[in-house]
Symmetry: C2
Amino acid sequence: MTQDWRLRYAENMRSYEGYSIGKLLSLINDPAIISLAGGLPSPEIFLRSEFLQATQRLLDRHIDRIMQYSAIRGEADLLDAVVTFLNRDGIHAGPENVMITTSGQQGLDLAGRLFLDPGDTVVVERPTFAGALAAFEMQRPDYLGIDMEPDGLDVADLQEVLAHRAATGRLPKFIYVVPDFQNPSGVSMSLDKRSALLDLSERYNIPILEDSPYRALRYRGKQLPSLFSMDQQRGSGRVIGVYTFSKLFCPGMRVGFNIGPPEVIDKMTNIKEGSTLNTPKYNQDMCTAFLTEIDLDAYFERCRAYYSDKMGVFLDALEASFPPERGVTWTRPEGGMFLWVSVPETVDTRQLFHEALKFKVAFVPGEAFYGEQPERNHMRVNFSYPSEAQLREATGRLSDCLDRQGV
Amino acid sequence: MTQDWRLRYAENMRSYEGYSIGKLLSLINDPAIISLAGGLPSPEIFLRSEFLQATQRLLDRHIDRIMQYSAIRGEADLLDAVVTFLNRDGIHAGPENVMITTSGQQGLDLAGRLFLDPGDTVVVERPTFAGALAAFEMQRPDYLGIDMEPDGLDVADLQEVLAHRAATGRLPKFIYVVPDFQNPSGVSMSLDKRSALLDLSERYNIPILEDSPYRALRYRGKQLPSLFSMDQQRGSGRVIGVYTFSKLFCPGMRVGFNIGPPEVIDKMTNIKEGSTLNTPKYNQDMCTAFLTEIDLDAYFERCRAYYSDKMGVFLDALEASFPPERGVTWTRPEGGMFLWVSVPETVDTRQLFHEALKFKVAFVPGEAFYGEQPERNHMRVNFSYPSEAQLREATGRLSDCLDRQGV
């Protein structure tokens, strides 16, 4: 065994370690720990009987095709169902604008691989989705982080930065945003900012990658149009959408879809072909059944009520445990699955993570969610998976743990 | 719409077009055409009732876990079942040597991404598997093609080339081979050459990527040890194995596995995490059921008998249609799914492909299977999917088509 494998690795991969949160989650192996660290949908909203019935019917009818290779870009039925689903949301696409992905993570990876050379710049929110960083990182880009405000990305700051970059000739390859109930912050981008962001995209001719995993999960406030639909109305064609069935239907099928101009979709399909070939037909067919056989309005309404209640319980518990004088603050999202909790700057949440495990509670330290210059005094907490009783208990444990830190 | 998307693409992707065969297959849309162009296992060997029963049982017991996220590296049950499966084949691995992939294509992509920088050299067989080229191509390597002989790679030529390269300091990053019933040629590497290839791997300290999709499908001759097992006996640790369930069980689940040193497997798992997260649990569980609940000896024996009969029919038909004076030759594989047919050099099989469509028969032009300097007078023909009657009929049509070309 005389191999020094590390010396053989491609430059893009030499320091690559995957998804930083994954390593953390592996530390949470004591069943007594209440984990607010995950990002799992609750099994309580899973459509078990519909899933079983659809499986039975599909296998009765199509077992030979389910066991065989299928089309790289996706099953025609699912492409059509996605077109209809998008149409509900004000997006007018044809099947040529859609490709099925083997998960939203693949959707992000396809974008990273298609657009990024090492050293290229990507605009990301501060904080941003850690899974997107895990995807883009394999191309070793530079991140240009723009702060999140309570109503989303600081578009005015982005404008200044882009103006400066335009003068120096090094514009970003794309702008990555999660406009609806962002992971990790829970923040949504206001309509004005959506509009202003699209102005910048047009003015500087920079594509936007819009990641929309939680869009159907709005618990409060008015639904805002997607960047994709607003861009489409302008006739600009600069937005690429990344979607997944993971939070709407279930993560276990590993199916999502990307939308965009046909030439971009074709090119991403080429990359998918070289990297995984087709998405399994059974898994696609289950998503088709979900989109076409379920009363989606009723189902989403049920999910919204379920998650909204949980978020309410969690917000109340935080309110009760952390009076203003403790200096702990948190976002109050209008949807999604996460809150962003900020603690006094004297506390480093990476260290706090290990302390919290002793108190049998877990969260994700905020530093995982920055492309550059991570802030250390935040944490992402999830409210979709734990029960309401667990959310209350976890808040108490977190309070005790922070108390020990002098907070 | 003022986008020139092409200008935005990463350098690695600007000219990338995916899997060249995929484009060809899309031209074969007339149902009257008998296609020898695919690489599909026959549905006649699919284990339908076992598949249905396993599905029923799995969903009864594990539906919540099947609908949820699961471990990136793979389900523990499947990792264990793979270890046992490998042990049948003389490979002594632990779960730390194995990762589940979302298809053999992903297994190849993970290798390409982990090892290849643009301009790095990869040794490939001439001809080689087009899907591997589709995976590696995304890193823009240089290919060093080494001719296939009737008993496999021309290892003596490889030795000369490596000696020269060692002197000039630019050794290949890895050597990619399909030692058993290679796609496209059907050729298998002799035991002596396996040994000599491992000598070179050790002498020049170059890893080997061993792709083994068809290994269980031997119809004639004696099973030879895998490069992985031989390398393991030497204690060298320079072979990485790429496997898939596609040809053994079914392609539709999109599950395979890679094997290798733990540090390489860990690193590939990182890349899988950033590019697709986990392989769907249902699809993995179906493969676990296949490995643990089927009498594999009996099943493989049935597959071997089935495909061997087809290959026999095809070889007889070729013999009858192409007497030696026509100058058409073909390989006589000991297993797998493909023959490699060579026609006189006056014929360009890319042009012949379009002629053949008029005769309602299709194959893959050989040029798709070269990393560099493609030869134009070969074709890959598949015998696993068409029926015996179709194989006979297709051979007649091919004969008529070539007759028209003066062959």
